[in-house]
Symmetry: none
Subunit: 412 residues, 2 copies
C-alpha cells in the first residue's frame, strides 16, 4: 500500500513546533508491514486542497494531520469532503460531546466551534479523548465516479493524535491492511568502523542476495545497517553481515551501546567506575541513562583540573608535570585510581583535547587517550583522534570508551 502523510500547520513551517507526527506514524504502522512513501508539510489554509488532490490520486492510504480545529484557517475537513464529493452533516453525537466539553470548562459555544461536529457522509468518527475535534476515517472505494483511497483526518496536537492513533486508527488499519508479514526489518548497529568501510565490506554482497532493501544511517561513532525484505532472505543477509563484522555489531535490536554494556555488566555481576577529563561527565550520563545502572555503576569522577586528578584519583602530580594531562600515563593512572577508589571490576578513564582551543603539534586538537583497568587484567590505553565539534567529540570519545569495555566483556 502506498502511504502518504500530509501534515498541515503553519507553525511547523515556521519552526515554532517540531513535527513529530511522521516519526510517530511511521513507527506505529511499521509492524503492519506499512511504510510511508512520502510526507509533506503544508501551511494552514488553502494549500491542503492542492496537495490532497494529488495524494488522493496517488496513494492507497492518506493520513492528514491538523486543520480540524475551530479557527478560520482550519479547513482540512471541508477541503477533503469537497474533493471527495461528500456532503457534510452535523453529527448529533459529536455535537453533544463538544457541548458537554465546553460546559464543564465554562466556555461559551459558538458556530465556529460547532463546525467540528460536521462529518462527511459515510465517515467514521474517531473519539478524541484529549481535545474537541474528533478524527475522521473515510473508507476507500473503487466504485462510483469518485474512486478514492483510505483517508484518515487526525488532530494536529500530538497529545490528541497519538492516543487516537493507538486506540482507534490501529484497529481500523488491522482490518483494512492486507497481511504483509512477508516483509521483515532488521537493523545492525556497528561501532568502531566507518560507514564507507561497512559498505565496502558488505554492500554489494547484500544487494547480490536480491529482494533486499539496504540502508545505512551513520551517527557519531556508529553506523546502522538496515535491511528490509522477506525473512528468509534476511537470514542469509544476517549471515553475511555477521560474518564480516563478527565483533563490531553490538546489537541487532534497538538497544544503545550503553544499554548493551550495562546489561552485560548486570549479567556478569560486574561493575564499572568512570574517571573523566575531556568527556566531562558524559560517560557517566550515558551509563546512568540506562535503568538498572545503579546496580553496576557506584561512582564516577569528573576530574577536569589537574589537581582534581590528583586529589580524586591519586594521579601522581609529577607524572602530570612530566607527560602532560593528556597522555597515556595519566589515562592509565586515572583508570587505576578510579578502580581502586570505587572498588569496582572495571574503570574507564578519558583524557584529551576537546577543543575548541588547546592542542599542540604532538597532541593536536581531538587527541584522546582512553584507558580501561580491569580486575585480573593488564590496564590498556588506546589513543584516538576525533576531529569534531565539542559535543560530537564527547560522543565519539565515550563511544570508543564504552566499546573498549564491551569488547573486554564479550572476550572474557
Amino acid at each position: 500500500m502506498n502511504v502518504v502523510v500530509i501534515n498541515t500547520g503553519t507553525e511547523l513551517l515556521l519552526g515554532s513546533v517540531l513535527n513529530t507526527h511522521l516519526n510517530f506514524i511511521a513507527r506505529a504502522i511499521f509492524p503492519l508491514g506499512l511504510r510511508v512513501a512520502r510526507q509533506l508539510t503544508v501551511p494552514d489554509g488553502i494549500a491542503i486542497q492542492e496537495t490532497l488532490a494529488v495524494s488522493l490520486q496517488e496513494a492507497d492510504l492518506v493520513f492528514v494531520t491538523g486543520g480540524l480545529g475551530p479557527t478560520t484557517d482550519d479547513i482540512t475537513r471541508e477541503a477533503t469532503a469537497e474533493l471527495l464529493g461528500l456532503s457534510l452533516r452535523r453529527d448529533p453525537g459529536v455535537t453533544a460531546s463538544i457541548t458537554e466539553r465546553l460546559r464543564t470548562r465554562g466556555f461559551p459555544m459558538t458556530d465556529r466551534i460547532l463546525r467540528q461536529a460536521d462529518v462527511p457522509e459515510g465517515a467514521q468518527v474517531l473519539q478524541n479523548a484529549n481535545g474537541t475535534a474528533p478524527g475522521l476515517y473515510i473508507a476507500a472505494t473503487d466504485s462510483g465516479t469518485k474512486p478514492r483511497p483510505h483517508v484518515f483526518l487526525l488532530p494536529g496536537p500530538p497529545r490528541e493524535l497519538e492516543p487516537m492513533f493507538e486506540e482507534s486508527v490501529m484497529a481500523i488499519l488491522r482490518r483494512i491492511v492486507p497481511f504483509a508479514g512477508a516483509v521483515d526489518c532488521r537493523t545492525f548497529k556497528i561501532t568502531g568502523v566507518g560507514e564507507s568501510i561497512v559498505e565496502a565490506a558488505v554492500g554489494q554482497k547484500l544487494l547480490d542476495l536480491g529482494h533486499i532493501e539496504l540502508g545505512y544511517c551513520a551517527r557519531p561513532g556508529e553506523v546502522d545497517v538496515r535491511l528490509l525484505g522477506p525473512s528468509s532472505r534476511l537470514d542469509e543477509a544476517e549471515e553475511v553481515i555477521r560474518g564480516a563484522f563478527p565483533k563490531s555489531i553490538y546489537t541487532a535490536t534497538d538497544e544503545s551501546l550503553e544499554e548493551v554494556v550495562v546489561h552485560l555488566l548486570i549479567e556478569r555481576k560486574e561493575s564499572v567506575a568512570t574517571a573523566e577529563s575531556c568527556t566531562g561527565g558524559y560517560l557517566a550520563h550515558r551509563l546512568t541513562n540506562v535503568p538498572g545502572a545503579s546496580g553496576v555503576f557506584p561512582a564516577g569522577y569528573v576530574t577536569y583540573a589537574n589537581e582534581a586528578k590528583t586529589f580524586s584519583l591519586n594521579v601522581d602530580a609529577d607524572l602530570i608535570e612530566t607527560h602532560g594531562a593528556v597522555s597515556r600515563q595519566v589515562a592509565l593512572e586515572m583508570a587505576e585510581g578510579a578502580r581502586r577508589s570505587a572498588v569496582v571490576t572495571h574503570a574507564l578513564a578519558t583524557t584529551g583535547v576537546a577543543g575548541p582551543s588547546g592542542g599542540s603539534a604532538r597532541k593536536p586538537l581531538g587527541t584522546v587517550f582512553i584507558a580501561l583497568a580491569s580486575a585480573g587484567a593488564e590496564t590498556v590505553v588506546q589513543r584516538f583522534r576525533f576531529q569534531a565539534d565539542r559535543e560530537s567529540f564527547k560522543r565519539l570519545a565515550t563511544q570508543a570508551a564504552l566499546e573498549m569495555l564491551r569488547q573486554r566483556l564479550i572476550a572474557a
Copy 2:
C-alpha cells in the same frame, strides 16, 4: 521567495530518526524574512528525482538535505546535476580535504568515497567541518534553456548541516535574499515557570500591542517566547515581558542556561563543583559542553551508590541510614562535601528518585533534593518533583540546579 525544503532519507520515513531539519532551517531563515512554503520527505534513492523536478519548477529557493554520502543510495548530487543539465567535475580542493580527513583517521580511500568530491559545474562548495561530504550551492539563473531556482544541497546529519548552515548558507542567503528587514524576531528564554503561566501573564498584553506574531515553545524546564514584528513594536513587547518576569528570563539570545551560568562564573572569577546522584553526571556534562568550562569547573562527583557518597564526599553513613539517600540532609552534606573537597566557590548536589522503579509514599518517584553550597552563604536545599521519563527527569533536575546557581550569581 517561494522556499521548499526536501528531506531525503528512508530512515526518516521509517521513523528511525526524527526529522529536525525543517525546524532548524525554518528558524534560521526567518530573520531574513523567509518562510518555508512546503516541505517534503522522500526515501533515499530515485524518489528525489521526481520530487526535485517538480520543486525546481515551482520554487525560488530549494534546500535538499541528505543523500550526499558515499553509499549507493546517496544520489542527490548526481540527480540534481542531471536535472539541471550540469556536468560533474572532481574538485581538487575537496579531494584533498577528503584525503586528509581519511588519512588522519587511518581509513583507506575508495572510489565511492571520492564521489563526494564531485561538484556540478559552477556550484559553490560549502565546507563541512564535521563530515566528509561538502555542501553545494547552485545559484539561480533566468537565462539559457534551463532557468533554475537557487539550490542548496546539504548533508543529512544535523551535526554537519547545522554548523554549515550557520557558517556558509546564511552568508549566501544574506546576499541573495531581497532585504526584508521590516520584521524582527526576539526570543526570550524563561526557566522555572510553566508555559501556561507565561501565557496567562503576558499573552493577551502582547497581542494587544498589535502587529506582533507571538509563539511559545516549551521544552523540559524552559519556555521560549518568540515575538515577530517591527522593531519598534518589539521594544514595547520586550518591556511587557521583562516586567512580568524580571528574574526568570535567563537570556534574550540563543544561549543555553549552562552557557549563561559558565559565563557568569568566568565573569565573577568563581568556580563550581558538582555532586550528583540521580542526575548521574548530566550536570557535569552540561557544564563541560560550554567552551571555557575548564576554567570554572575543576571537578565533579557522580556518587550513585551510598558508599560513594561517603568515600567521595564524606557524607556521614549514619545520616544516610537515618534519613535515606534521597533527603534534604544528604543533599546538603553532598554539596558541602564537594565544595570542601574541590576547593570551589559553589557546589551543586542532586539526590532523587529518577525511576522507572524506586520511590515510596513519602518520597514518590520523581522526588529530588537539590542543594547549593556557596562560600560565605548558608547552604540551601530545595525539594522538587519531576514526573517524567528518566532522561527528561535528568534534564529537569539539572535545569533546576543550574537555575538555583544562576539566581545566586545574579543576586550577589
